[in-house]
Symmetry: C2
Subunit: 363 residues, 2 copies
């Protein structure tokens, strides 16, 4: 059973580097209709909009013969049950954040993004040319799933706070709406992670039943109006070096899909991996300016807070390496790439970006 | 004439945001065969490899009905004449660096990347969601061309030097193989730009007929063996915030192309915009490690050198705004996006990257 699943995953993985021979679309192909469960409300025109664009592109590329209908969170299944729905073949495919599923297996978190981990470019490089896709496909394959990188949010903000965070001690007892690895890490520093729906964050901050909340970044956060109920907006959202968005297809559905439709699905996924990030990168600066204009107070986490969070993060990662063989296997590839990549990014990209941002600030 | 060309360019530009309705591929479409002239030797498996992958993907997506054959530089036309060949309909399309053509019009340089300008993510965001594609398509359209973002190299290295650059004075009289805006800028600082083919760089450095040369980055540079003849390898290559690679199609060829093939071309271009950069980001760190292992001495340009280059760059950009209406029109959109984007990138991405790289260096 396991061996068979592994072989399937490996065969599928070969697709990522373009080894599929020219397919015979046109005459022979049947009409295929899939449903895509997403973890996003329609109001997220960034992420949900990207899922819609991906489905639209697949239809365009297949003469309308491969139609995928995207559904917002809650329409078919709740945001956090997309993986299950695909795994159970309730729907053929999904569009989600892998980190939502670390309760099942912390290895999913490596796909969504780790604390102080790979930035968006590094994550795409690790997946497509650094062995990451092979490592993840083997894991997802054993879980009845085929995974695709379908987008990225980039570095998010560090959340909205009713009071300033001036020291590590200010984290103690903080009722913070935060999920994933970030929540696990901050528990070590006394934070009490709160799991509440996005729609309840505003009221929670207004009434003070929570002290702080992280959602996404300026463009998405602005719509929910947090600026009115929590004036300190912190940077950076260190709990993910980037928030990579994952497309999931059930292995059964994938294996039954004609080759030309596989090519269309994969190409559209890669296109959105570029375009979702580009849309965020264009929309966030405008939203940030509006928020600052409304009186939002930008703050950077103090260095001792960052240091404490970094130390706690490394502890959590080590605990998972020691306790979870799935995590350890993927992390091994991830960590080697991360360290090597950081040396190069620090040398060229970062040198120039640093100079540019400083020069502009000086005018 | 001008008005008609403008309307064409605008109509084409609409495609970029996915307004093309579902095409009718399959039965009705004819066989189309194009040639793609590239500016790259086949040994550049990064950039030329990406052009090949793009053509392969287009064939896959169209049941082999739309075949584009890529040619290396020199096979049909020299590296720096790809734009002309497409414009003259010698070939239907090309794959090149727009900055090669600033001798015709400096506005092309904004597409390829400006000194101290947008990084790769910012450039994609400006093009796809910040008005950049509309501005560029209007300009290219008036020149008989339709442009696509088909890849990016990212920040390059600052070149190979036989002697260290310790002060601004060390630039005076330096025979430096550098092109594009970088060459224009450095002329102001006494550099004597050398225009020699990539294949002649090694001998030039060995014999001392040139003092320094920039080519690309660790992975591509390593193959040419520069480490043996110039031991100082400088960072960063500030003459482009990123080196964006442009696909060009003649307006005539584009207008005659069936809609489904337009969709396939555009989607494959967007996919390669992700994958070319990902490949560079995966290959450069490994090559950098090998180069350092060979004894290459890494150096960062001293701050006074960077400051002098920045000042000279701003002067050159201003001169072009004042003297070239095409440049001014596109630069207006570019500059507004650049400044706004930098504020956001400095706040989130850069804060986290800075922390990560520093933390790793400390161990």
């Amino acid at each position: 059973m396991k061996r068979r699943a592994f072989l399937t995953a490996t065969a599928v993985s070969g697709l990522a580097v373009g080894t599929v021979s020219a397919p015979a679309l046109a005459q022979g192909t049947p009409q295929v209709r899939w449903r895509m469960a997403t973890s996003w409300p329609k109001s997220l025109d960034t992420i949900h909009g990207s899922a819609e664009a991906m489905c639209q592109r697949i239809a365009q590329l297949t003469d309308g013969k491969f139609e995928i209908r995207p559904f917002a969170s809650g329409e078919l299944v709740p945001a956090g049950q997309v993986l299950d729905a695909v795994q159970n073949n309730t729907v053929e495919c999904g569009h989600t954040l892998a980190s939502f599923y670390i309760g099942k297996n912390t290895a999913y978190g490596i796909d969504g993004g780790l604390p102080f981990g790979l930035n968006a470019r590094q994550h795409a490089a690790w997946l497509h040319y650094g062995g990451g896709m092979d490592a993840l496909r083997e894991f997802y394959g054993r879980n009845g799933l085929v995974n695709f990188l379908v987008g990225n949010v980039g570095v998010q903000m560090g959340g909205w706070y009713r009071k300033e965070i001036k020291s590590v001690e200010d984290l103690n007892g903080l009722k913070f709406r935060v999920g994933g690895f970030g929540g696990l890490v901050m528990t070590k520093l006394g934070v009490v992670p709160q799991q509440i729906a996005a729609s309840d964050i505003y009221t929670g901050l207004e009434k003070g039943t929570i002290d702080a909340a992280e959602w996404i970044g300026p463009y998405d956060d602005e719509k929910l109006g947090f600026a009115k109920v929590a004036k300190y907006y912190y940077t950076p959202g260190w709990w993910e070096g980037s928030a990579a968005i994952t497309g999931l297809v059930s292995t059964t559905a994938w294996n039954n899909l004609p080759d030309p439709f596989k090519v269309a699905f994969e190409t559209a996924a890669n296109e959105q991996a570029l375009l979702m990030q580009a849309k965020y990168d264009a929309k966030n600066p405008e939203a940030l300016r509006r928020l600052v204009g409304m009186g939002v107070q930008l703050r950077a986490f103090p260095r001792p807070v960052m240091d404490a969070c970094y130390k706690a993060s490394m502890e959590v990662l080590k605990e998972n390496v020691d306790s979870n063989p799935d995590f350890a296997r993927i992390y091994d590839s991830w960590k080697a790439f991360n360290d090597s990549s950081n040396s190069w990014f620090a040398l060229a990209e970062h040198q120039l970006d640093s100079y540019r941002y400083t020069a502009q600030r000086k005018g």
